[in-house]
């Protein structure tokens, strides 16, 4: 590792705020674009499953709904 201490790693010779905020924002955006499609897919599958069960008149579901 290049940095001697944890403190040096955080401050990076005065540039720490810039470097860390840039990395943090990038990681947040990357997490967002990685997580969003999976969530969209699973939500859609759940919704569709619910609709299909309801339309078939599944007693387990209709009881909950009433």
């Amino acid at each position: 590792m290049y940095f001697d201490s944890f403190d040096a790693l955080l401050t990076m010779g005065g540039h720490g705020g810039f470097v860390w905020s840039a990395y943090l924002i990038t990681i947040l955006v990357m997490a967002a674009i990685l997580i969003a499609p999976g969530r969209r897919r699973k939500k859609f599958l759940r919704q569709l499953a619910g609709e299909l069960k309801r339309s078939r008149g599944d007693p387990n579901i209709t009881e909950e709904e009433v």
Partner: protein
């Protein structure tokens, strides 16, 4: 050979094969990103002129490179949709747009953050920054046009035309902005040349560029999977999948 193309046009096949690809590619991407970013952040020596702020290069440059490549992916998918009327190309085009826009945004934002310690200002009307901004506008235009259509088939084709127009324009925009900047370039700003990069800095950069490409591919495939399901909501394979309750 031909059967591959026929399979490519089949949503269930594409859905399952992309699931298999993702099972391998996603962990590899995450590891490559983690290794590349940690390497760049912790283990490289600082640039003698810019100090530690240059470490932003390991996210800024890959994001910019892949954002530009993403536009070409989108435009080529659009062209395939227009010429061979392949529905999967339309799915790919629609799925590439938000990922590309997000990466362009990252490139702009990290560029601005990098600019503050390096040039003393958040934003310079530098040729490359300005063309990235225009690229972001092009991405947002495609997304906005897609959302404006109620008929999604027409939306796909209209966006494909727009993407192709944009693709013809990108080199023109880039060259004209480059030229415009060299005319107005203020003397206070100095760039370090690309060739001056040391190999110890180059290897982590190459790794992160590869990792960002993989990230783009992962996000593209995951978006495509969600899109395939939504488009096939009335088909039996999607219903079967939903009832099976399997989330993978």
């Amino acid at each position: 050979m031909w059967s591959f193309f026929h399979k490519l046009g089949s949503p269930p096949w594409l859905y399952s094969i992309s699931g298999v690809i993702l099972r391998w590619l996603l962990p590899i991407t995450l590891v490559a990103l983690a290794v590349g970013l940690t390497w760049g952040l912790l283990f490289t020596v600082p640039d003698f002129r810019q100090g530690n702020s240059y470490r932003i290069i390991y996210i800024h440059v890959p994001a910019a490179v892949v954002a530009l490549a993403g536009y070409y992916v989108m435009a080529i998918a659009g062209a395939i949709n227009l010429i061979w009327k392949m529905k999967m190309a339309d799915v790919a085009m629609k799925s590439a747009a938000p990922v590309g826009a997000a990466l362009t945004f990252v490139a702009l934002l990290t560029g601005a953050i990098w600019g503050k310690p390096t040039w003393g200002t958040w934003w310079v009307w530098d040729a490359r920054i300005t063309s990235m901004l225009i690229l972001l506008f092009l991405y947002l235009g495609v997304i906005a046009l897609y959302e404006a259509f109620d008929n999604k088939e027409a939306a796909g084709k209209a966006c494909a035309v727009l993407c192709l127009v944009g693709m013809v324009n990108i080199p023109i925009i880039y060259k004209s902005v480059d030229w415009w900047y060299s005319l107005h370039q203020p003397a206070s700003i100095k760039f370090t040349g690309d060739s001056s990069i040391d190999t110890s800095m180059l290897y982590p950069l190459l790794l992160t560029i590869a990792a960002f490409y993989a990230l783009f591919t992962c996000c593209l495939l995951m978006n495509m999977r969600a899109e395939l399901l939504q488009r096939g909501a009335r088909t039996s394979w999607v219903k079967k999948l939903a009832l099976a309750g399997k989330s993978t």
